[in-house]
């Protein structure tokens, strides 16, 4: 490609010289030995320009194109990486959401279970308390009745003893003794 361009440039540069030479002497280009020198000079100039300007320029351009391509590739890779990371993050967020949902569901279930257990326990405890209170009340009533009966009987007997002590006469003693003697055989 570069060679074609160089040849073309040479021919283009040669054409006006030839034209001028053909028109007569005394022009810019004379068809004589100097033409050869000029052509050599021109060739050397081309060669020098090609060496010093064209090749570094092309090299730079290629280098630049390469750098741009590399940058483009890197950008593409970065974009792909970013996309991958975005997807990864999205997946992680999705997983976290799912896990949170599962934890919430488990917590709700556990809370419901705990609530049910507490209610059951409270109900059982309440039942026990009621039963205990009822038994205690029954016991208290029974004890109170017993104490009342005991007190009443003590009182009745104390009164009876006082009345008997005051009212017993000798004949009463004799009768009591006789009755007790009569009961001896029955007792034995």
């Amino acid at each position: 490609m570069s060679r074609v361009l160089a040849t073309a440039a040479f021919l283009l540069a040669l054409l006006p010289s030839l034209a001028l030479a053909s028109e007569g002497g005394g022009g810019l280009i004379n068809l004589d030995k100097s033409l050869i020198i000029q052509m050599v000079n021109f060739g050397l100039l081309l060669l020098l320009l090609g060496k010093l300007l064209y090749r570094p320029l092309v090299g730079k351009m290629e280098e630049r194109a390469l750098a741009i391509r590399k940058s483009l590739d890197e950008a593409q890779a970065a974009r792909a990486e970013a996309q991958r990371e975005r997807e990864e993050h999205a997946a992680k967020i999705q997983a976290a959401h799912a896990e949170a949902q599962a934890i919430r569901a488990a917590a709700l279930k556990e809370a419901a279970e705990e609530q049910r257990r507490l209610v059951d326990a409270a109900r059982a405890e309440a039942g026990r308390l009621v039963e205990s209170a009822r038994a205690e009340m029954t016991q208290d009533v029974r004890r109170a009745k017993q104490e009342l009966r005991q007190e009443v009987s003590d009182l009745v007997i104390a009164v009876a003893e006082r009345v008997i002590k005051k009212s017993l006469r000798d004949e009463d003693h004799r009768r009591i003794v006789a009755d007790a003697i009569a009961r001896v055989e029955k007792v034995s």
Partner: protein, 181 residues
């Protein structure tokens, strides 16, 4: 208390065996009771016979002298001397009834301790004795004393058998029935 009764019974049994050989068991019982009566009436004599710091020989001499004065025979004098010598005179209140129980058993009789609110008449004693003899199949010796804490009637005890014919007993039973409802 149980050990004390056991000791008293051993002494009573020993005396009873010797008294049986001599054929004077009931008389020995009466002499013992008389000696016990003297000791009860004379606290000084009882103290002298039960104090541990008085020499055993002296206690023996005192017991023999008191027994002689109370009209006890040689056997009872020797027995009481031995009891005093061994320092067991404080057991005498248990020895005497234990001995009498052995004699009563020999004679097929039993003693009825009767506590009564008022003194029983002779007729009442006779009737009670007869009833107890019929019930127990033994001759009964009534030992009665008046207990002013009783309201009326009597309580008779023959060995472990207690016959409660008192108003107090009836009232106690009535109290129990009332308390039970």
């Amino acid at each position: 208390m149980r050990a004390r009764e056991g000791t008293a019974r051993r002494y009573a049994k020993a005396l009873h065996m010797i008294a049986l050989e001599s054929g004077a068991a009931p008389a020995v019982g009466q002499e013992l009771a008389a000696f016990l009566g003297v000791l009860t009436a004379e606290p000084e004599a009882r103290d002298a016979l039960t104090r541990p710091w008085i020499k055993a020989g002296d206690r023996r001499s005192i017991a023999v002298a008191v027994a002689r004065k109370a009209g006890c025979g040689k056997l009872v004098q020797d027995f009481l001397g031995l009891v005093a010598d061994r320092g067991r005179m404080d057991h005498l209140p248990e020895i005497v009834p234990a001995y009498q129980a052995l004699v009563d058993e020999d004679l097929g009789q039993a003693r009825a301790q009767v506590r009564s609110a008022v003194a029983l008449t002779d007729e009442e004693k006779r009737q009670l004795g007869a009833r107890l003899e019929r019930a127990l199949g033994k001759r009964i010796l009534l030992e009665e004393h008046v207990d002013s804490t009783l309201l009326g009637g009597f309580v008779a005890q023959v060995g472990s058998l207690i016959l409660d014919g008192s108003l107090d007993g009836q009232l106690a039973r009535m109290r129990e029935r009332l308390a039970r409802g």
